[in-house]
């Protein structure tokens, strides 16, 4: 295996700008697209959308519950709402509105929660969602996704304009590490293979995809071939990919910038437990609150480095017995 991770680099366009540009583009042809925010339009880079489509932009002020309820009501009249706030406030702050006015009522809302996990960095623990995927995964019918880079984000945001239901998009606002070429297409609910390997499988999401590729290179240097898949959809989880990984590599590591409780690692564990139990190790936040600091510090503090992934991968392999 070549060292694929050597080519990894940060993108030059922020994810939020791709989000805004894609929505502007979609709204041009689709009069049903509407955007809502809770006083974070500047933070989310959505001012250009507001200028282009003022009659279809609703800045609700600091009212997350009202925003989600309004989005649900708009969807009853055929509108296709994209409603954004920071991750904690787009989920735990308005959970019952997402649950009842949105999901229970079979409405049609895209909830966008930005600054996943440690990327909330200087906003600190109050703004650092380690639980949003878990919260949303528990809502019947909810699809939960974390697009990895600009190419995937654009494709997902476009796809979401053509479907009906409740969707949670966990969104990095700033610079992602480039994984995919522009124009790449993805299937919601399908893990994307990034690297082949027969010794262990790493399922990763979000910022941890690039870290997992780096970890795979480090493992390769030690003679361990790790398969890496981008599990950008936490729900519905790609059961087929998990079973295949268990059967073909016999050990699995789930890697997420989120609590190990009820996130990607739990989703993978559920499938393994019900199908082919093999050793599973989970890289993620170990039932802790977030805290303030530079992202690099937080990645180390919460065990989200390639070294952490390597250690867990080796442990999983050892446990094969």
């Amino acid at each position: 295996m070549t060292n694929a991770a050597d080519k990894l680099a940060k993108e030059s366009i922020m994810m939020r700008d791709t989000y805004c540009r894609t929505l502007i583009d979609l709204a041009r042809d689709n009069p049903q697209i509407v955007a809502l925010d809770a006083d974070l339009m500047n933070s989310m880079g959505m001012v250009p959308f507001m200028k282009e489509y003022p009659e279809r932009t609703f800045n609700c002020g600091v009212q997350e519950a009202n925003m989600i309820g309004i989005a649900a009501g708009l969807s009853r009249t055929g509108k296709i709402p994209y409603a954004h706030s920071f991750g904690p406030f787009a989920t735990r702050r308005c959970y019952d509105q997402v649950f009842m006015s949105g999901a229970y009522a079979r409405c049609n809302v895209r909830v966008i929660g930005s600054d996943p996990g440690v990327t909330a960095a200087y906003n600190g623990g109050t703004h650092m969602p380690f639980e949003d995927v878990g919260i949303m995964r528990n809502v019947p019918g909810m699809t939960v996704m974390e697009p990895t880079d600009n190419a995937m984000l654009e494709d997902i945001i476009r796809q979401l304009s053509t479907v009906h239901g409740m969707y949670y998009v966990r969104l990095l606002r700033r610079f992602a590490t480039k994984i995919y070429e522009p124009g790449t297409k993805f299937t919601i609910g399908k893990a994307v293979p990034l690297r082949e390997g027969a010794d262990v499988t790493i399922f990763a999401s979000g910022i941890m995809v690039a870290e997992s590729l780096r970890a795979a290179d480090a493992l390769a240097a030690q003679g361990i071939e790790a398969r890496v898949l981008n599990m950008f959809t936490a729900k519905p989880v790609d059961r087929e990919a998990v079973v295949k990984a268990a059967e073909e590599t016999g050990a699995v590591v789930a890697v997420e910038n989120h609590s190990v409780i009820n996130g990607l690692g739990s989703a993978v564990a559920e499938v393994l437990g019900e199908t082919k139990p093999v050793p599973l190790e989970r890289v993620g936040i170990q039932d802790e609150f977030g805290e303030v600091g530079p992202e690099d510090y937080l990645r180390k503090r919460f065990g989200l480095t390639p070294e952490d992934i390597v250690a867990k991968a080796k442990r999983a392999i050892e446990r094969k017995g």
Binding site: C60, A65, I70, A72, G73, R76, T77, M100, S101
Partner: protein
């Protein structure tokens, strides 16, 4: 298609019919949200018999007026109204809360023909009604969005988030009713979390307000006609009602939010409502 005006006799007769069917549903089930269903009967009679632009044969007609019953527990009275208007057969009313029913205790637009929004978790219908009103505005549709909120429900912060937003956006096609029946589940609203002057609170948020006798169908109709005429502000009609309105034994039960019905008293109340209807019809013929 209604959206006309109706005379007192027709409105009162329709209210009696709604109240009668509501009581029959609740007696058949044996229990239910009697108090808050009965207190909005006159308002539902005015909405569906007179002021709302609706067509029961086309429940999804896009240009209709919409109603969000945010106090979703008033479901039984709403179902009685819809059945009487022909949205679904009257016989279906007796399936209230049975397994597999289309008539759950709280309003559900995926189950019941004629229901415009799923509600049940209090406060949330305010926001969804605002969203519906915004949707009509974006599409340039000439539809009113009506909203019924309970007074106990005003405890919810989300109501006031919505009140602020609706005024800011000058949602003048949003017409809300507060069913001020003075009681919530645990007792009198003034003893639990005193609401003070409800109309004044909404007025301070920028709404046009009216206080109306919630048992007087003509007063309710007049208030809606006036609310529909003025521009620039969302409207709220504060209904002075009695929890359990029009059925004395329910009115007299202090904690009547959800009750097990005394079978004899309920049957007697139904008899009395039927007699009143009969004498009304006799008088009309």
């Amino acid at each position: 298609v209604s959206q006309t005006t109706a005379n007192r006799e027709d409105l009162e007769r329709f209210a009696l019919q709604i109240r009668l069917q509501t009581m029959k549903m609740l007696l058949h089930l044996g229990f239910g949200h009697a108090g808050g269903a009965l207190s909005v009967v006159e308002t539902l009679a005015v909405l569906y018999e007179s002021v709302m632009k609706i067509d029961p044969a086309r429940p999804d007609w896009p240009d209709r007026d919409w109603l969000v019953v945010s106090k979703g527990h008033a479901g039984p009275a709403v179902y009685a109204t819809l059945a009487l208007k022909g949205y679904f057969p009257l016989e279906e009313l007796l399936t209230l809360n049975q397994g597999g029913t289309n008539l759950p205790s709280h309003c559900d637009h995926n189950k019941t023909v004629g229901i415009d929004m799923t509600t049940g978790s209090l406060g949330q219908g305010v926001s969804s009604a605002i969203g519906i009103a915004l949707g009509h505005r974006i599409d340039g549709r000439d539809s009113n969005t009506f909203l019924i909120v309970g007074d106990g429900e005003l405890n919810e912060g989300q109501v006031w988030e919505g009140a602020m937003f609706a005024a800011h956006h000058k949602l003048d096609r949003l017409i809300a009713f507060v069913d001020a029946n003075k009681r919530q589940l645990d007792g009198y609203t003034k003893d639990i979390n005193d609401l003070g002057d409800i109309a004044a609170k909404f007025a301070s948020f920028g709404w046009e307000t009216t206080d109306v006798d919630g048992a007087d169908v003509m007063a309710i109709q007049q208030a809606v006609l006036e609310a529909r005429r003025s521009e620039g502000k969302p409207k709220v009609i504060v209904l002075d009602t009695i929890k359990g309105q029009g059925v004395p034994f329910v009115e007299e039960t202090l904690l009547n939010h959800h009750i097990v019905l005394d079978k004899e008293k309920a049957a007697a109340a139904i008899d009395e409502l039927e007699q009143r209807l009969k004498s009304m019809d006799g008088g009309a013929s």
